[in-house]
Structures are given as C-alpha cells and as structure tokens.
Amino acid sequence: MSKETKEKAKKMKLSLPEEELMNSGHLACQGCGATLAMRFVLKALGQKTVLCIPACCWSVIDGPFPYSCLDVPIFHCAFETAASSASGVKAGLEMVGDTETTVVAWAGDGGTFDIGIQALSGTAERNDDILYICYDNEAYMNTGIQRSSATPYGAWTTTTPVKHFKNRPKKDMVAIMAAHSIPYVATASIGYPEDLFRKAKKAKDIKGTRFLHIYAPCPSGWKTRPEDTVKLSRMVVQNAIFPLYEIENGEKYTLNIKLREKKPVDDYLRIQGRFRHLSDEEIEYIQGEVDKKWGKLLKQCGAN
C-alpha cells in the first residue's frame, strides 16, 4: 500500500459496522454470494438473532456438527419448514420471556420459491413476527445445480440442459409476498452492501412478517469467475434484471437504486457460462422482457 493510499484509508469512514458475527472456517465455495449476504445481514441484525436454516447451501456452509462459523444460534430445520419453524421459535421464545430476539428464516431459492412456499404463505398471511430472508442463487446449488422456479429464462442447469434450457420466466416471488399485505418486502443485492444493510436493519425493527429477497451469485453453478461475484451483483441491478426496491404494506413501492442509464442485459449474460448458448435473438427476447418488467416497476414506484 502506498503512503498516499494509507493516508486515504485512514480518512475513510466504514459504512458498515466493524463487528463480525460470521467467522472464518465456513465451507462455502470461492466467490460464494450467499456468505456475503449472511455476513452483511448479521452486521445489521446483531447478536440477538436466531436463525432457522432449512436444507440449502447454508446448512453446509455453516459447518458440520459440532462446529458453526456463526456467533448466533441456528435451528437446522426441514427443507419446507423455514417459515413455520421460525413462527414456532418466535412463539416459543415469547412464551419463555424473550420478546426481543429477531427470529430469522434463512433459506435458499428452492426452499422459498418451491418447497417452502406453502409454509411461507401461511406465516405471511398470519403476519407472524419473523424476518424471512431468501438468498437467491437461482437454482438448487447444494444438490448440484438443478433448476428451481427462481431459475431465470434461458439458463442452463443440470436439469435444463442446453438443448432444453429453461423456457419459463423466474417466479415473481416479491409480488407474491407483497400480495400478502405484509408490512415489509424488499429486494437487495450483495453488490450494494449499504443498501442491504439498511434494509436488514429496517426489517429488524418492523413487527410482523418481513421478506427480504437477496441476489447472491453462485460461481460454481453459474459457471462464472469467483472474482466476478460482486461485479455481477452490481450489473444485475444496473441492467434492471434485479432492481432494488421495497414495498411497504403491500402498497407503497419505493425504488432504492435509480438508474440514470439502464444498461443492456447482454454483457451480464455473456460473462456467465450458464447463458453461453443463448443466441442474439434469445438475448433480445430477454431484453424485451426485462424492459417490460422495469416499465411496470417504475409505474408502481411512481418514478416514471
């Protein structure tokens, strides 16, 4: 580090708390977006947190029995039960006199969009006081890259081979959650840590069911370079494939990252092995779909 850089670094203010509740020794792959998601979220939630983690990458990342890389307790629960387990933990804690702890359901996209959606819908409809966080790596990565309903149109996975790539759009989970009229729904990306931190903190202080949808790249499953994880997490916001916004009480939409100049989807898709097979026409189709959804979102946010 040059003298100049050192001086600069001294003057820089940390935009996130220094305290770490996630330690070294975790078992994630290189460049894993889900680990960054956990690290940032725990900085916001603090130590008074209980996690309910169903089957997903994070049930491995944390470390095998008797180890854990986190300084908060974890209930490793069944695949489809993140939300219902969290509802139970919250009720149980309250009955034994702990009304402060933030109870978090921490699940992947398979556990949220697919197998866990029934329990999640139940929890949200009852407005149970939990924070549900889905870290979305857009397929069943822990079992070996099988498609989920969060897999985007056009992607290769081991169950959507190139000849029959996924030809259905990604399920709009955020809209589904907003339709439950819960107090808080938000999207976040690990490429925008301050925004993610703010949202996790905001969610922590709201009563009722809160849903946070975090974009978290998976180099092993997406066939991307580990060092591109953060880059992808910024590109995906800038090209409006994964816009950052929040919805309060199912009605009030706010766009958090405004785009002065919306980038084309092309560059984002081209650097990922999972989209390598796409023709120009298919990319054009994807661009059209993204534009449509973006236009709709701008209207919802009243930010035309």
Partner: protein
C-alpha cells in the same frame, strides 16, 4: 371437578391443565373439537398460550418443534392424513429430542375417504421414535396427556396420545378434571437443559457425519429403554395425586385365564364387557389391553401371558404382506420363551366397522375350538 365431556375435549383439558405454552394445529375431522376448545381457552385467557393457526399439519409440527426448541411446552393434535403428512417431522421431533405431546385421533387412511376409526395412521408411525399411548376412555385420555408431558420432558422423547375416532373422540363420558393446583404440583414447568437462545449460541441439528450420527441414535434408544419403568413410576406418582393409575397395560381377569384376548384402544373396553359375559357362562377368559405400544412393554406382556393356554390378538390395523401389528409385537415378545403358546391373530374393525361384544364372542369361540389358527390371519366380519 367431574364433567361430562367428549374424548376430544379430554385432550384439550389435558393440554390446558398441562399448561401448554405453544399450540400449533390444523383442523381435520375427527380432531376439530380438540383445537376449537383450545383456541377458545387461549382467546379467553383460561390458558396462557400462543395458538398458531397454521396452514397444514406439516407446518403444525414444524412450529411445535421450533417452539419446543425455544423451551416452551408444546402441544398439537391431528388425525390420519394429517398425521401422515407430518411423518418427516415426527422423525425430526424425536431426532431433535424435542418433547412435543400430540393427540392423534385414529382414523382410517384414504383411499377411499374414511373418517372412521382404525389404527393404521398411528401404527405406520411406529418407527419414528415417538412414545405411543392408546387410550380406552376419556378419563384415560386426560390423565395420559398430563403424564405424557412429564415422561416426555424427562426423556426428551415426544409422545402421541391416541384415541379412536368417534367411539372415543365424539363420545361423552364422565371425566374427573383435576384441580390446576394439584396438576401444577405434579407437573412443574418445562425447564430444558439446553434450548435455542442468543445467550448461548448453538447450532441444532446440523450436518452430522458417520462419526457422530450413530451415537445420537444409540442415545435415543437408550432413553427409550428407560421409558417403561418411568411410565410405571410416573403412573404411581399420578395415582398418589389423583387416585388413578395409568401404567403400561390393563389386565382384566387375566390371572387365572386360560384364554387371553389382547386388545388396544376403545375395543379393549368392549372386550372387558365380553370377558365378563363369557366368564358368567363359565369360560376362563381375560383381556389384556395394551396401553403403551412404543416402547412395547415386552416384559409385562410376557409375565401376564405366562399362565395362559391360548392367546388371541385382535388388531384394528394391518401391515400388508404380514399381519396385524400388535400381533407381530406379541409374537416377538413370546419368541424364545419356554412355552409353545398357540397365538391366534384376528383382524377386525378396519375403517370403523363396529367391534362389539359379539365380535369377541366369535373370536373366543374360534380360539377355543381350534388347536391352532387355520389361517395365518383370521378376518372377523369381512365380506368375502
């Protein structure tokens, strides 16, 4: 206080007197009155508990597990299709050593749709690591729930309290409802050694390799082996408080009986009536009603069957491809014993077909007349 209540409400009163703190349940016929009364009790403050009105039985059990892990006393109730939907999480409860107590109303499995009684729902959960108590009266239902909390919490093993659809769930009987103060003295609050709390962060149920998993299961079995003695001890303690003994089995006139019927659930009480009738006619018969199916009371059953010349097991269930499920257990209890006791296996009453004193007369007649059963399974009342 003596009240006239239905079997389902006996479950609710048991859960209330046990001071359940979290209840999560989903409605299914014929269980609904259990949770209706409990939600009223929670709403009017009779019971200080959180009632989570979940969207499925699977979520009911999941929420119970979370609440139990947080250190709360937890209760739910279900039946049949609901119980089998929970199957995955029944393993989770015992494997996680979470002492949830659950009422299950025995109802036959679909298809065809049936709401009537048989035991295949609960017996197909035999190997999930739950204790199973089969009740014969509404009084027993209430008393069993309270004792089940105590035994479950001591062993960290969940309990299922089981009663027949309609013939118990919807039948009104006089039940002595104990005083809350006395129940509190008998059953102190649940204080787990370890629970999920940020004050002491642990990871529960994480990835467990071959070097550890085996021992966890060994420990579960070792604790389960303690259950028969603990159930008897708890029963005696309960008797001191409330004057009623639960125990592992009910022995009705087996002492000098030449022919012993083995029954479970409500039909066990019908069998008692039949035994008394047949005794009057000069037949030396007795009835052994098995109350605790898991852990199976092998020792007690062997002891009671010692003097018998013939045994007739009546099952309201079947393990397809083999036999009645109680029959299998009794047969394995007798294996290696000196006697070559003829064992007759009857299947009756599937899907709620009535089992009456006449059914037992037919069973006793068949057993008396033959040295050995002529068929592996003797079907009673089936239209062939």
């Amino acid at each position: 206080m003596r009240k006239v209540i239905m079997g389902n409400h006996a479950l609710s009163y048991g859960a209330m007197l046990g001071r359940s703190q979290v209840i999560a349940a989903y409605p299914i016929t014929p269980q609904t009155q259990v949770v209706e009364l409990l939600s009223e009790m929670c709403a009017d403050g009779t019971l200080d508990a959180k009632f989570i009105k979940v969207e499925s039985e699977h979520s009911a059990m999941a929420a119970c597990l979370g609440a139990s892990l947080a250190g709360a006393r937890t209760f739910t109730a279900t039946s049949s299709q609901g119980l089998t939907l929970m199957h995955e999480l029944l393993h989770w409860a015992s494997g996680g050593r979470l002492p949830v107590v659950m009422g299950n109303i025995n109802r036959a499995m679909a298809p065809g749709w049936s709401i009537w009684s048989d035991q295949n729902d609960s017996l197909s959960q035999r190997d999930t690591g739950w204790m199973q108590f089969y009740c014969g009266s509404n009084q027993e239902v209430l008393d069993t729930v309270i004792q089940a909390f105590k035994v479950s919490e001591a062993l960290h093993i969940p309990s299922m309290v089981i009663l027949d659809a309609f013939s118990l769930s919807h039948t009104y009987e006089v039940v002595d409802v104990p005083d809350q103060d006395k129940v509190d003295e008998f059953l102190p609050p649940y204080k787990p050694r370890i629970r999920i709390t940020p004050e002491e962060p642990h990871a529960f149920g994480g990835l467990t390799g071959p070097e550890h998993y085996f021992e966890l299961r060994y420990k579960l079995q070792k604790e389960m082996e303690k259950a028969p003695a603990l159930i008897e001890k708890t029963g005696k303690e309960y008797e001191k408080f409330f004057g009623r003994y639960l125990g592992l089995v009910e022995d009705h006139r087996c002492g000098d009986a030449e022919l012993i019927l083995i029954t479970s659930g409500t039909m066990g009480n019908t069998a008692k009536v039949a035994v008394d009738m047949l005794r009057e006619e000069g037949m030396k018969v007795g009835n052994l009603r098995i109350k605790v199916f898991r852990p199976f009371p092998f020792e007690t059953v062997r002891k009671i069957l010692k003097g018998a010349r013939k045994v007739a097991v009546v099952d309201r269930n079947i393990s397809y491809g083999y036999h009645g499920i109680f029959y299998q257990e009794v047969k394995s209890a007798l294996y290696g014993q000196d006697s070559n006791l003829p064992l007759f296996g009857f299947i009756a009453g599937l899907g709620g077909r009535d089992i009456t004193p006449e059914t037992f007369r037919e069973i006793v007649q068949y057993t008396k007349e033959k040295d050995r059963p002529e068929e592996e399974i003797v079907w009673i009342g089936v239209k062939r």
